[in-house]
């Protein structure tokens, strides 16, 4: 066994699942979380995704023990933690601002939690070095935080948290203070680190791409309520409601009703479907599942292009139809078909697998 592998093994710890039951939380009179129920498996990489104000950070902080005391139950493993102070919970949290203490060196920052746990000095040194090596910053151990770049600070924050071998790892928008290129790189590093440690991890973000690329499963939050939980792809393909459909990717949501084996839109278009949802009132059409033609034909939706945007790999058209404006994305190929704004076009919709909403 190599030294590094030994250290990594050494850092592993019993990781735990998280169960949240009927959780309510308010700031004064403002309700922030309203009836959260969910279960996160041990070793899972889980994301809380939602717009700002959706309660995702509040929920994460409630798990760590910050903020007002919530009503309901939070179980880490089989330990009830709602009444435990933050310092008794053994959950590691990486703050959005990193919160590195400016008066301590990198080494002292990382050693802090271990010292609080009154470990012998020898053990602290070993664990600090292992944590720093894991994030590749062992050679910067004596630096002060102000001498580090943003990416390095992020790694120190991560090392500091991992060093205490928490049962779960909480990441509060950890990538939001990094520039775009570094963000993608850190995202991958985070994921591979999580896989190595097999540590239950919750990642809060408002960026669906971050959640999609890292999370095993995610919870989409809005207005303090969980809208849907599941693997990213499943949520994209089978959104439970209009919010999830619209928040994950771009969606055209058309009103109408079921009619035998088709969905009849308000604008009078008949879209064939293979699955049926009783009481379906809306259909979700993804922009990339709609084709454009200038040849009108039976069963196609007629419309006029109001606006055209070149997005690089795609061209996006906003088409005015009897069902309102429909967004259509077509792959861009050199010398491929293209229509200027103002063109009359017909839309061929692949609606067989389109999600239906009540």
């Amino acid at each position: 066994m190599t030294q590094t592998a030994y250290r990594e093994n050494n850092m592993k710890r019993e990781t735990a699942g998280i169960r949240i039951e009927d959780l309510y939380l308010s700031f004064g009179r403002t309700k922030v979380l309203a009836g959260i129920d969910m279960e996160i498996e041990p070793g899972e990489f889980f994301a809380f995704l939602g717009p700002s104000g959706s309660g995702k950070s509040t929920l994460l902080r409630a798990i760590a023990g910050f903020g007002p005391r919530p009503k309901g139950r939070i179980l880490i493993g089989d330990r009830e933690v709602v009444d435990l102070p933050p310092w008794k919970r053994n959950v590691g949290m990486v703050f959005q601002s990193y919160a590195l203490w400016p008066h301590m060196s990198v080494r002292d920052n990382v050693a802090f939690g271990l010292q609080e746990r009154r470990l012998p000095k020898r053990e602290i040194d070993t664990k600090v070095e292992a944590a720093l090596e894991l994030v590749g910053l062992l050679d910067l151990a004596e630096r002060m935080p102000s001498q580090l770049s943003g990416g390095q600070q992020q790694r120190v924050a991560l090392a500091r948290t991992i060093a205490i071998e928490p049962q779960v790892l909480l990441l509060d928008e950890p990538l939001s203070n990094l520039d775009a290129a570094l963000r993608v790189q850190m995202r991958r590093e985070l994921l591979s680190l999580q896989r190595k440690l097999q540590l239950t991890t919750i990642f809060v973000t408002h960026d669906q791409e971050e959640a999609n690329t890292t999370a095993d499963r995610m919870a989409v939050l809005d207005g303090g309520v969980i809208q849907q939980v599941g693997p990213p792809q499943e949520l994209y393909d089978h959104p439970a409601n209009a919010f999830v459909a619209g928040f994950l990717g771009t969606a055209n949501i058309l009103d109408g009703q079921l009619q035998e084996d088709a969905f009849l839109t308000k604008g009078g278009h008949r879209l064939p479907i293979t699955r049926a949802l009783p009481e379906a009132k809306r259909i979700v059409l993804r922009p990339q599942n709609i084709a454009l033609t200038d040849q009108p034909a039976e069963g196609l939706i007629r419309g006029r292009i109001r606006h055209r945007e070149f997005l690089g790999s795609q061209i996006r058209y906003l088409v005015e139809t009897a069902d309102g404006t429909i967004i259509v994305d077509r792959l861009h190929e050199p010398d491929g078909l293209d229509y200027p704004a103002g063109s009359d076009v017909s839309l061929r919709v692949d609606s067989r697998n389109a999600p239906l909403l009540p």
Binding site: A64, G65, F66, P85, P86, W87, K88, R89, N90, V91, G92, M93, F95, Q96, S97, A99, W101, P102, H103, F112, G113, E116, R117, R160, T161, I164
Partner: protein, 578 residues
């Protein structure tokens, strides 16, 4: 920094050659003024400290004499001890106030923070006598203690009195700095530590305390030096074995040529410079202001019922102590005879009548001296601000440095310097020697308060976007018309605030003026209070004058506060052009 540089180099290119004369002439005049009334007098004091009085050669003999004299040794030790203890006591007063109001949800936080500043509006020597009547051997507190419990506490015995009065007066410096430092700590700093297992005292010791330390030290250094330099309080409490009173007594008693006064002055200046430098270093090298976007201070905790009662009790005791000089002063000013009794025998308006019939010249002189000094301060202050920020004159920063250096010169030292330098100069028209001319008091006050006015003017001008002036010039206004029509109106608030601050603090200045006043008819308020307080019979009138002084300073402080707040709303300049 680079923005300032490029702005000033642009200004250099466009303004230096066509418009050199105006700004340069003003700059040179100010430089001469500062040299004559600040740099040279202080330099001469330091020079004389190293001068052999008989042979006229440089020597360390004076310092040797100083440290071989028991009285001076004792004075030095006492000054040091009193300053250090004042820092300790001020900390004991300020720490609970700062901690409770910044860390807990506590009704009355705003009230406590503003009550905490009240001591600053009362010159310490004014409260000193009132404090002896409340806390002295036969004062209210000890009389009651003795009557009910059979013991006394020597609050005001000797050096204790100076320490108590000074720490009550100066603790706001620590309160302000410490509260700001505590508020500047981002909540996540504390949460991260809790998340990693720290809580309670350990959390405070390892995270909160070190992060707040630079702010605390900066405040503590200020308290130390203010106490070290102060002359009025020990004089009024009749404690003479300290450095500043010794300097005063040697110069006024033994004579202008006695080297000991100069040696003491040198020590005072050296300590001032060192403390200010240290305080500057604490704030700069370790600026731990850690608040991030949306952060905003440590999280405030709810107090339990028992903790709340305890907190209110502590705060009530502290505030009672802090406000006691004011209570005492009011009792003294309105009381008839107050001696060997917890409260005065009766109440009267007699003292105010006395003051208004026989002592109006003190009030008049104060308004004249402090008013003229403050007008000069804002004129010079805004000129320096304009030259430093908006022109490219070589050496312009030195104007700022020179004017600001006045902060490090204790009033006693400036007074001694003026006496030494100007005692031989006869003024024309039979006005007598320059050192005893009343105008020199105005100049001394002006130099002493210039740093305050300068900071206000600098801040006002810095907020003013250069583009506003460029727009005026672009539309055809000359440099001088731009200054008159754009710069001055927009700076008006800052200039006014500077005036009020300078005026209010100059009105109660004692340490420099006490050396320069030659006749009672030319004396200002502070000196009048000092004279009255010398005799038990005059205390009532002295206190009445003291109340007038407090009212003047309080009004001034309130006004400058209002002006600054109003200006902040009025002249918000968008970020463009920066």
């Amino acid at each position: 920094m680079s923005a300032t540089n490029s702005a000033s180099s642009r200004a250099l290119r466009f303004t230096l050659f066509p418009r050199l004369s105006g700004a340069a002439v003003v700059g040179i005049l100010i430089a001469i003024l500062l040299m004559a009334f600040l740099v040279l007098p202080v330099a001469q004091v330091i020079y004389v400290a190293f001068l052999d009085a008989r042979s006229g050669t440089l020597t360390l003999q004076n310092f040797q004499d100083f440290f071989n004299t028991t009285l001076f040794q004792q004075s030095f030790i006492n000054s040091f001890y009193v300053s250090a203890m004042s820092v300790v006591v001020a900390t004991i007063i300020a720490l609970p106030l700062a901690y409770i109001t910044t860390r807990f949800n506590f009704a009355g936080t705003a009230l406590i923070q503003s009550l905490g500043f009240i001591p600053l509006i009362m010159p310490p020597f004014v409260g000193a006598v009132a404090m002896s009547l409340l806390f002295g051997r036969n004062g209210t507190v000890n009389l009651l203690l003795n009557q009910y419990f059979g013991f006394r506490i020597p609050f005001m015995e000797g050096l204790n009195g100076v320490i108590l009065v000074q720490s009550i007066h100066y603790f706001p410096f620590i309160l302000i700095n410490l509260s700001a430092a505590l508020r500047n700590i981002d909540r996540s700093m504390e949460e991260a530590a809790q998340n990693l297992g720290a809580s309670g005292l350990r959390l405070f010791r390892r995270i909160v305390f070190p992060l707040a330390m630079p702010g605390y030290l900066a405040g503590a250094a200020l308290v130390f030096i203010k106490v070290f330099d102060d002359l009025g309080t020990p004089l009024l409490l009749n404690v003479n074995t300290m450095l500043a009173p010794q300097a005063y007594l040697r110069i006024t008693g033994v004579g202008i040529n006695d080297p000991m006064g100069y040696v003491i002055s040198f020590i005072l200046v050296a300590f001032s410079v060192f403390s200010l430098w240290a305080s500057f270093l604490f704030m700069r090298g370790k600026d731990y202001a850690t608040t991030q976007k949306g952060g905003g201070g440590l999280s405030k905790r709810q107090l339990s019922r028992r903790e709340k009662i305890l907190a209110y009790l502590v705060i009530f005791l502290i505030l009672a102590l802090v406000l006691s000089p004011h209570f005492g002063l009011v009792l003294l000013a309105f009381g008839t005879i107050w001696s060997f009794s917890p409260l005065p025998d009766g109440f009267t308006l007699q003292h105010f009548q006395t003051v208004f019939t026989e002592s109006t010249q003190y009030i008049y002189n104060t308004l004249l001296y402090a008013g003229s000094a403050a007008v000069l301060d804002v004129l010079i202050g805004s000129a320096i601000a304009y030259i430093v920020i908006r022109t490219g004159l070589p050496g312009r920063k030195w104007l700022d440095y020179m004017a600001t250096a006045a902060l490090a010169v204790p009033g006693v030292v400036l007074g001694i310097g003026y006496l030494r330098m100007f005692h031989g100069i006869q003024l024309p028209f039979g006005m007598g020697p320059m050192a005893s001319w009343w105008g020199i008091i105005i100049i001394a006050l002006m130099i002493r308060r210039l740093p305050y006015a300068l900071r206000s003017c600098m801040a006002a001008l810095q907020q003013l976007s250069l583009a506003l002036e460029e727009a005026a010039e672009n539309l055809g206004a000359s440099k001088s018309r731009t200054i008159r029509r754009i710069v001055v109106p927009l700076m008006a608030g800052g200039i006014l605030a500077g005036f009020v601050t300078s005026f209010a603090t100059a009105a109660v200045e004692l340490s420099a003026t006490i050396m320069l006043v030659s006749r009672a008819s030319e004396a200002p308020l502070a000196y009048g209070i000092y004279l009255y307080m010398q005799s038990p019979a005059g205390r009532g009138a002295g206190a009445a004058l003291g109340i007038l002084a407090v009212v003047i300073v309080a009004l001034g402080t309130y006004l400058s506060h209002r002006i600054i707040e109003r200006e902040r709303d009025r002249t918000v300049i968008p970020a463009s052009g920066q």
